[in-house]
C-alpha cells in the first residue's frame, strides 16, 4: 500500500527525514512512532504529496506520489497535524465543502452519522474558527472518510480528544481495518500504538530505528517505552 525508498528531506542543516525505507501492507493499522521533532509530520507530508522530498521514491496505492500527488490525495483520506479547517464555514458547511471539492453527492446521512458518533452535532452550525481544538479534530476525522477511501493517513489523531472519544476513534479505526481499509498513523504516544497497531516503525532524529510487526520477537512483552529507550540510547 505504501512503499518508501531512500526518502530524505532536509531543512537547512536539519535532517528532518534521513534516508528512510518503509513498507506498509494493505490491511495494516500502521503506527509511525517517535518523539516530538523526530520527523513524523515531515514524513506524512511527503507521503501525501504535500511537500516534495529532497530525494527518494514514494509510492502510495501503487501511484508515484512525486509524479501524481493529486491522484494520491484523491485516493487517500488525509488528516493533517494542524487542525485548520477554513475558519468562517460552519462545521457542517465544511464537510459539504470537502464533499464538493471531492465531487461527492448526498453526504447528509454520512455527516449525521459522524455528528452523532463523535458527538458534535450540537456544534455543527458553529463557525470552524470558534470550535474547540477537539471538535476541530473530530471534524477533520470526519472529512477524511467522506469519500470512502481504502487508505487513510493521520498525523497525531487522538491528541486533542478526551478518553471517551479516543476510545471511539480507536474502535472506528480497528473496525475500518477489519473491513479492508488500511491506516497509517503517527503518534508520539506509545501506548496508543501498542493498543491498536498491527505494525510500526520508530523514527528518531529523522532516522528509521525500527520497523516491524507489533508482535516482533525483538519487542517481546516489554513495555514499548523500554524497547524504545533501548533503541535510541
Amino acid at each position: 500500500m505504501i512503499s518508501v525508498k531512500n526518502l530524505s528531506k532536509h531543512f537547512g542543516t536539519t535532517k528532518a527525514v534521513d534516508n528512510v525505507d518503509l513498507h506498509v501492507q494493505k490491511g495494516e493499522l500502521f503506527g509511525l512512532l517517535g518523539p516530538n521533532g523526530s520527523g513524523k509530520t515531515t514524513m506524512i507530508k511527503m507521503l501525501t504529496g504535500q511537500i516534495r522530498p529532497g530525494s527518494g521514491e514514494i509510492s502510495v496505492h501503487g501511484v508515484d506520489v512525486l509524479a501524481k500527488p493529486l491522484r494520491v490525495k484523491e485516493l487517500t483520506g488525509i488528516i493533517p497535524e494542524q487542525e485548520n479547517p477554513p475558519s468562517f464555514l460552519t462545521a457542517e458547511e465544511y464537510l459539504h465543502f470537502v464533499a464538493k471539492v471531492r465531487k461527492l453527492k448526498d453526504i447528509e446521512e454520512q455527516c449525521d452519522w459522524w455528528f452523532s458518533y463523535l458527538d458534535f452535532g450540537e456544534q455543527k452550525d458553529v463557525l470552524c474558527k470558534d470550535l474547540s481544538r477537539g471538535t476541530r479534530q473530530k471534524l477533520m476525522l470526519s472529512q477524511a472518510f467522506l469519500h470512502g477511501p481504502d487508505l487513510v493517513i493521520i498525523d497525531e489523531p487522538l491528541i486533542n480528544l478526551d478518553p471517551l472519544m479516543q476510545r471511539r476513534v480507536k474502535d472506528f479505526l480497528k473496525d475500518y481495518v477489519k473491513k479492508g481499509g488500511t491506516v497509517f498513523i503517527s503518534t508520539h504516544i506509545l501506548e496508543i500504538a501498542r493498543e491498536i497497531c498491527t505494525g510500526m516503525a520508530i523514527i528518531y532524529k529523522g532516522k528509521l530505528v525500527f520497523s516491524g510487526r507489533m508482535d516482533d520477537t525483538a519487542i517481546g512483552d516489554r513495555p514499548l517505552e523500554e524497547f524504545f529507550l533501548e533503541l535510541v540510547c
Binding site: 457542517e92 471539492v101 470558534d130
Partner: protein, 461 residues
C-alpha cells in the same frame, strides 16, 4: 509592557526576514528611498509647472491617503492581529494567556504597526525625497518634513480607525451612515476650492510652524485613537453564533463558474469575517473617495491630463489590492491535503476577485456618468478592466497566495514597481496624445493572461 512591545517588534521582523532573508526585508526601505529620490529628481522637469507648496500638498495628502488605507484596525478587533499571517501562534494572540488586558495588547499591536510603517515607508521616503531636492533646488527641512508627513499618515490612520470602530459597534446597518459622513464631508470640501486643502493641519504646520498647528495634529491623532481604543470590540462578532447551512446552495448557484465550492467559501469567509463589507468601505471606498476628491486638484497643475483616465488607472490599481483580502484568511496549507493544486486555489481566488471587481467597476461607471462623458464609457471601462487585470496578474506572479506580506521583499517590490509604474505612466501619456489610444490598453488583457499562466506554473509545488 515594554517587553511585550519589544517582542512584538522582534517577532514581526523575524517573520518577514525568515521569508526573504534579512537582506530582502532590510532593503525594502532602500527601494522606497530610491523611488522617492527619483520622484524628487523628476522635479527638474515638473518644477516649472508645480510650485513647492503644491508638491508639499501632494506629499501630505499621499501620506494621509496611505494612513486611510491601513487604518482599519477596528474592523476585526483581535482578528486583525493575526489575519495577515493566518497563524494563531503570534505573540499578540498567545499573550492573551498573560495577565494583561487585551486592550493593552492591542494598543501595543497598533503602535508596533505604526512604528513599522514609519521605518518602512515614512522615513525612507522622506530621506530620499529630501536628498533629491538637494540636487534640484528647493530646500526641504528634513526633520520637519519627516514629522509632518508622519503626522499626516497618523491622522489618516486614526480617522479610519475611528470609523471602523464605530462600524464594529453599530453593525452593518450603520454602514451607509458611516460612509455618508466622509462622503458628505468630501463633497463639501470639493466645492470650496484649493484654499481649504491647505488647511490640513500637518501641511499647515510645515508651511507655517506653530505650536497651535502641532497641537491640532496631536488632537486629531490622539482623540480618535483613544476613543477607538475605549470602544474597541475585542471579539467581533461577540458570541458564538449559529449559522444555517448556506454553503451548499451558494456553491450550487455559482456552479456555472469553475471552482464554485472555493468561491462560495471565499464569499462566506468574506461576508462573515466582519471585515467583509466593512473592508470594502474602509479599505476601498473611503480611499477612492479621497482620490476622487484630490485628483482634480492635482491634475489642474498638469494641464491637459484627462481626469477620468487617471481615475480609471488609479481605481484599477487600487482594485488589485482586493486580491489580498481574499488570500489573507487563507493558507494553502488549509487545502494541501485535498485534491487541489495551488494553481486551483489561485484560479478560484481570481474568480472571486473578478466578482469583487464589480464594485470598483460601479465606481468607475459612476465617475463617467458624473463627468457627463457617456460617449467615452467603453474606453474608460476597458482601461479600468485592463489595468485591474494586469496589476493583479503581476501581484499573483510575485506573491502567489501570500500576497499581503511577500511584497515587503526588496526584490519583489522593485519588480512590482518596474512592471507596473512605466506601464501605467505610458497609458496616461498615450491617452494624453490622443484619447482613442486608450484602446491600446486592451493589449494588457492577453499579457495578464500570459503572466497568470506563468504564475500557476511558478507557484505549483
Amino acid at each position: 509592557m515594554l517587553e511585550l512591545f519589544r517582542s512584538m517588534i522582534k517577532e514581526e521582523w523575524r517573520m518577514h526576514s525568515s521569508f526573504f532573508g534579512n537582506r530582502g526585508f532590510a532593503l525594502f526601505p532602500v527601494v522606497i528611498a530610491a523611488v522617492s529620490l527619483l520622484l524628487s529628481l523628476s522635479m527638474i522637469l515638473f518644477g516649472r509647472i508645480v510650485s513647492q507648496t503644491e508638491v508639499l500638498l501632494g506629499l501630505h495628502y499621499l501620506f494621509l491617503f496611505m494612513g486611510c488605507m491601513v487604518g482599519g484596525f477596528g474592523l476585526l478587533g483581535r482578528e486583525v492581529m493575526n489575519m495577515r499571517f493566518g497563524q494563531l501562534s503570534l505573540l499578540a494572540y498567545s499573550s492573551r494567556t498573560l495577565p494583561i488586558s487585551e486592550r493593552l495588547i492591542f494598543s501595543n499591536f497598533i503602535v508596533k504597526d505604526v512604528v513599522y510603517y514609519f521605518f518602512l515607508y515614512v522615513l525612507p521616503f522622506t530621506a530620499g525625497f529630501a536628498a533629491g531636492a538637494v540636487f534640484v533646488g528647493p530646500h526641504y527641512s528634513f526633520v520637519m518634513l519627516l514629522t509632518t508627513l508622519f503626522l499626516s499618515f497618523c491622522i489618516g490612520l486614526s480617522l479610519v480607525f475611528l470609523l471602523t470602530t464605530i462600524y464594529a459597534n453599530l453593525g452593518k446597518k450603520a454602514l451607509l451612515v458611516i460612509l455618508l459622513v466622509p462622503v458628505v464631508f468630501l463633497l463639501f470640501l470639493r466645492g470650496t476650492g484649493s484654499v481649504s486643502f491647505y488647511a490640513l493641519p500637518p501641511l499647515a504646520l510645515y508651511l507655517e510652524p506653530s505650536v497651535d498647528a502641532f497641537l491640532t495634529c496631536l488632537v486629531l491623532i490622539l482623540v480618535p485613537s483613544v476613543i477607538s481604543l475605549i470602544f474597541l470590540k475585542m471579539d467581533f462578532p461577540q458570541s458564538q453564533k449559529h449559522y444555517p447551512n448556506s454553503f451548499s446552495k451558494l456553491a450550487d448557484s455559482m456552479g456555472f463558474y469553475g471552482y464554485s465550492p472555493l468561491m462560495a467559501k471565499d464569499y462566506l469567509d468574506f461576508s462573515r469575517s466582519g471585515g467583509g463589507p466593512g473592508k470594502l468601505v474602509f479599505s476601498f471606498l473611503v480611499p477612492v473617495a479621497v482620490v476622487w476628491l484630490f485628483l482634480p486638484q492635482l491634475l489642474q497643475l498638469v494641464p491637459g491630463l484627462d481626469i477620468l483616465v487617471v481615475f480609471a488607472v488609479v481605481v484599477g490599481m487600487m482594485a488589485s489590492t482586493m486580491y489580498n483580502w481574499l488570500t489573507e484568511f487563507d493558507m494553502f496549507g488549509s487545502y494541501s491535503f485535498l485534491p487541489l493544486t495551488a494553481a486551483d486555489v489561485m484560479r478560484s481566488k481570481l474568480n472571486s476577485y473578478s466578482l469583487l471587481n464589480l464594485v470598483p467597476l460601479a465606481v468607475v461607471l459612476f465617475a463617467v456618468l458624473q463627468a457627463g462623458r457617456l460617449q467615452d464609457l467603453l474606453h474608460i471601462v476597458l482601461l479600468f478592466v485592463a489595468v485591474s487585470m494586469y496589476v493583479v496578474s503581476v501581484t499573483v506572479y510575485l506573491t502567489g497566495l501570500n500576497t499581503s506580506f511577500t511584497l515587503y521583499s526588496a526584490g519583489n517590490f522593485t519588480t512590482y514597481l518596474l512592471a507596473i509604474g512605466p506601464v501605467m505612466l505610458g497609458l496616461v501619456l498615450l491617452a494624453q496624445l490622443n484619447f482613442q489610444l486608450v484602446l491600446a490598453s486592451a493589449i494588457l488583457v492577453p499579457v495578464a493572461g500570459y503572466v497568470l499562466r506563468r504564475s500557476f506554473v511558478k507557484w505549483n509545488l
